[in-house]
Symmetry: C2
Subunit: 148 residues, 2 copies
DNA sequence: CTTTTTTATATGAAAATGAATACAACTACT
DNA sequence: AGTAGTTGTATTCATTTTCATATAAAAAAG
């Protein structure tokens, strides 16, 4: 496993492209796996984002899932109808909608989370523990840096 | 600039999410900049992918831009109508369409490439040269690894 | 050679997306 | 309090995207 691979042309030395491409490649297989089970990747992203918090407002959830607000707004209404999550008005701010995962959603996401972890392990199986941590912490650093 | 940032919950230790999030954050600003000039990000991605090659088939181009085939097919027809690129049948394989950037497209992309480089420099301004190279080469390694 | 299978692209109908906007509730001033 | 500006969410409608499929050419099999 060498980490030193030289760029060939513009695209291979352009950070935005390297991120987009690696993101795409990493997610692609897993998304197919999810879809084969009848679930949309949007659902997976939303449920995963809700899995480790009590509740989030639509805006907060949107910062995690990276959709456009109208897109998320519609998805969340649909998912509530399917009992995967619960929406209720925020008492502190009556404009806001608090969104929380439901019991059904929790069962589903537990399964998907296990699959996601297994998939990631497979993706990174040739990397040492140190390399894995280095890669992830560089990305976390980039995220923090870009959010100001 | 520390690179060691610890994960908090699932999402912050999940490679696919870290990649998606950092990719989104890096591209977002630049895409807004492009759109403010009246260009779609799809056009930018296609032109950038064509900028440093003579010609690519639709399939080859699609491997770079990461769209769905019908999406690219339609975009490319539209861009030919706008004189940004040229399509012609491949002599070697008559099913294939070879796509090449036009003179007009080349002028446009030269401008956009300069902007992209400037934007990237800004994004990475707090990183040392070593850190930049490490980050990029890890991502290149990941891409190569995932493509088999 | 046929026949079958695979590959490359295009297209049409249906679904998803997003820009613009509406509306209600909150905040900051005066 | 009253007004002006801001923020959070929903909705509309035009555009974009995609699934499914068609078509034609190449490759593989028989």
């Amino acid at each position: 496993m060498t980490l030193m691979i030289k760029p060939i042309d513009f695209i291979d030395d352009y950070l935005a492209y390297l991120l987009a491409r690696s993101s795409h490649l990493v997610s692609e297989q897993f998304h197919r796996q999810i879809q084969a089970q009848g679930w949309s990747t949007n659902y997976w992203r939303i449920l995963a984002s809700l899995s480790d918090v009590e509740a989030l407002t639509l805006t907060q959830l949107n910062q995690r899932v990276l959709f456009k607000q109208p897109t998320l707004s519609k998805l969340v209404v649909k998912m509530e109808a399917e009992q995967l999550l619960v929406r209720h008005k925020d008492d502190a701010d009556k404009r806001s909608v608090k969104i929380a995962i439901s019991a059904t959603g929790r069962t589903l996401v537990a399964d998907l989370l296990a699959q996601a972890k297994a998939h990631e392990a497979k993706v990174l199986e040739d990397y040492s523990e140190e390399q894995q941590q280095l890669l992830k912490s560089m990305l976390r650093g980039l995220v923090v840096h870009l959010q100001e």
